[in-house]
């Protein structure tokens, strides 16, 4: 069940749309913001709240990679693997992260602190090699910058 706070927030979002169902994506974002993931329970709640069969809520959640079905770490590295970044050393950054964190793409460290995702182009080739660090873009990456981020959050 949604908390009163969250429900108030969702009502505000849903109120902006002529049809409640159209608010599916922003509602899911608001929930993920709060809970860090979209759990099966949340899917059921959203289904009831918006009047959409739960199977179609799950369609949206599984279609978009920005919705997480498992909890991500406090620091989430989404590293670009597309052309510009790859040419400028993106692959080395990814390898370095894998070794330092001891996890593969899509995984989270057992202490729940770090997650790694290898992603397609984030539309910031001018920053290559780059990644999305939680909600921010970080560019001109090198191993030192990565190490600093990891050490700071350990």
């Amino acid at each position: 069940m949604f908390t009163t706070d969250l429900l108030r927030q969702l009502d505000k979002i849903a109120g902006q749309y002529e049809q409640k169902q159209a608010a599916l994506l922003p509602v899911l974002h608001a929930i993920q913001e709060k809970e860090g993931l979209i759990s099966p329970e949340s899917e059921q709640d959203v289904s009831r709240y918006l009047g959409i069969p739960v199977v179609h809520v799950h369609e949206a959640v599984s279609f978009y990679h920005l919705f997480h079905q498992t909890k991500k770490g406090k620091c989430h590295f989404s590293v670009c693997q597309t052309t510009s970044c790859a040419l400028l050393g993106g692959e080395d950054i990814i390898e370095h992260l894998k070794t330092r964190l001891g996890i593969k793409s899509g995984e989270t460290t057992p202490d729940g602190k770090f997650s790694l995702s290898v992603v397609e182009c984030l539309g910031a080739c001018e920053l290559a090699p780059m990644m999305q660090y939680n909600k921010e873009y970080r560019g001109f990456l090198n191993k030192k910058k990565i190490d600093e981020l990891i050490d700071k959050n350990k």
């Binding site: 069969p53 199977v55 179609h56 799950h58 369609e59 599984s62 279609f63 990679h65």
Partner: protein, 523 residues
């Protein structure tokens, strides 16, 4: 109403008609996967693309409304090339193992490939394989995600027809997969229909999978006897190829399209209710546990009738019988002998919904009412038999043990001179009846049922009656012959023509006019 030309043929159709519907009216079938006339249009498979003059790109026929003066080509080189390309895309990750696929023979992917594909593979990379092969998604249906082409017919079926929303397409790109919601099952009263609408081998029926190759099946048009809705069906039965060693003749039932009754659908209980056709049948006449000849059996009935009076004869007809059976029963027992005849036994109403499933589980209650009327009363007949006021009780199909209890039936067997059970399948009442007469099941009968809409519909015999069983009308005619009052009907059609002359509501009907879609009984 816009006029348009399709493949050189002119046609006028109501505004809002789509190209695929207009073409259908001209008898031109445009290939389709996602399009289904009873479901909302999705427009995702792209196989139905056609060329419309003055439009630069091909259009999808399922979603493009016709316009005045439109000139459509469905087989131009551009269209054929497009179909080939769409097929190539659909087959990128589809397994090419038709020989081991249950859908082979009724697969649209296979059909259209033979018509429009037939290219050499240009694929160097390995096909994307799904984690699981065929797996169960509910009590009746199996899913093989690799064979799915994501047309979403099943998704739209559970969204708009059953409104149960079990199916969805999860993930994205070539990882997309059809599935039911995690932890849920496809378990509704109409789930079997998704197998019928699946154009490929993704959804298959557990009851039918690998039982028989579809090209060995023959199809007989019939009507489901499961309830008073009278959904139109095809009986798919094995033509007995020497290498299929099965004793079952009926392999499956499929809904047959009738827009006025069941549209394209049937319920699961109707769909899987066919095993009784080949199982647990009464195969020959039996008198007191001894197999006897038909002649001897009929002689016993005739003797009893001749040695008693009309008020000491009771007949329990049944709304499971055809109009023709019931009319012959009426002729002999009601009109000629003036015995007590009724068909309305105290049955508990079954489950029902507001779609196809009706609480009355008899296919011909309306027909029985119009032909037999209601003068005697089944409960009274049973009471009379129990109290020794009847010499002959003649029961058609009813399991009296289930309806009235063992005690009553044992009493009836003791108090009557002759207790006849005429039916297709063995039930508890057979053990008490003095004489058991084997009758044929609906799949072996020619005749008509009248459904709850008062619609008279044809059933046709798929195969010969099993063992020595005969049609109910034939057995009753046999009795009449033995009594020296022959009913000289040549067959059910002959009986029906007499019904038309005798029973007011049937006036003007004939087997030809009833056809495949039925005719409404006049009030």
């Amino acid at each position: 109403m816009p006029n348009l030309t399709i493949d050189g043929q002119k046609i006028e159709v109501p505004a809002g008609t789509t190209i695929i519907q207009a073409a259908e009216k001209l008898g031109i079938e445009i290939p389709r996967y996602c399009y289904h006339p009873a479901l909302p249009v999705a427009g995702n498979c792209r196989i139905c693309m056609v060329e419309v003059e003055k439009q630069p790109k091909l259009q999808i026929a399922c979603y493009t409304p016709v316009a005045a003066g439109m000139v459509v080509k469905t087989t131009s080189p551009k269209v054929l090339e497009a179909r080939k390309n769409v097929l190539e895309f659909l087959l990128v990750n589809h397994p090419l193992d038709c020989p081991v696929c249950d859908q082979a023979g009724e697969c649209k992917l296979q059909d259209y490939y033979m018509e429009h594909g037939q290219y050499d593979s240009r694929l160097a990379s390995v096909k994307v394989k799904k984690e699981k092969k065929a797996f169960s998604i509910g009590p009746t249906v199996m899913l093989d995600q690799e064979r799915c082409i994501l047309c979403t017919r099943c998704v739209r079926f559970t969204d708009t027809i059953t409104k149960t929303s079990e199916f969805g397409v999860f993930d994205r790109g070539d990882h997309s997969q059809l599935d039911v919601y995690p932890g849920k099952e496809l378990d509704n009263k109409y789930s079997g229909n998704v197998v019928d609408i699946c154009p490929v081998g993704a959804l298959t029926d557990k009851d039918f999978r690998f039982k028989c190759r579809v090209w060995y099946l023959d199809h007989t048009k019939s009507v489901c006897p499961g309830c008073s809705m009278g959904c139109n069906i095809d009986i798919d039965w094995d033509k007995s190829r020497p290498h299929t060693e099965k004793k079952e003749r009926v392999m499956r039932l499929k809904p047959r399209h009738n827009p006025d009754v069941n549209n394209y659908w049937i319920c699961d209980s109707g769909r899987y209710n066919y095993h009784f056709i080949d199982e647990n049948r009464i195969l020959s006449p039996q008198y007191l546990d001894k197999i006897v000849e038909w002649g001897e059996a009929m002689e016993r009935v005739a003797e009893t009738i001749q040695s008693t009076k009309a008020e000491r004869i009771g007949v329990l007809a049944s709304a499971q019988l055809t109009n023709e059976d019931l009319f012959v029963i009426r002729k002999l027992f009601k009109d000629t002998l003036k015995a007590h005849v009724d068909f309305r036994v105290p049955e508990k109403p079954g489950d029902s919904d507001d779609f196809l499933i009706k609480a009355d589980k008899n296919p011909n209650t309306a027909g029985a009412a119009s032909i037999l009327g209601a003068q005697a009363d089944a409960q009274t007949i049973v009471q009379k038999a129990k109290q020794g006021e009847l010499d002959l009780l003649y029961v058609f199909g009813h399991d009296l043990v289930k309806l009235f209890g063992k005690e009553t039936v044992a009493q009836i067997a003791k108090k009557t001179k002759l207790f006849v059970f005429q039916g297709s399948n063995i039930n508890d009442t057979c053990g008490y009846a003095h004489l058991n007469l084997p009758s044929s099941v609906y799949a072996e009968k020619d005749g008509t049922f009248t459904n709850c809409q008062q619609r008279v519909q044809r059933i046709r015999p798929a195969f010969f009656p099993l063992g020595e069983s005969k049609g109910d009308w034939e057995i009753v005619s046999f009795v009449a012959g033995q009594l020296g009052a022959p009913l000289s009907y040549k067959g059910p059609q002959d009986v029906f023509d007499d019904i038309v002359k005798t029973v007011a509501g049937f006036a003007g009907m004939s087997y030809e006019k009833i056809g495949d879609q039925g005719m409404i009984l006049k009030k």
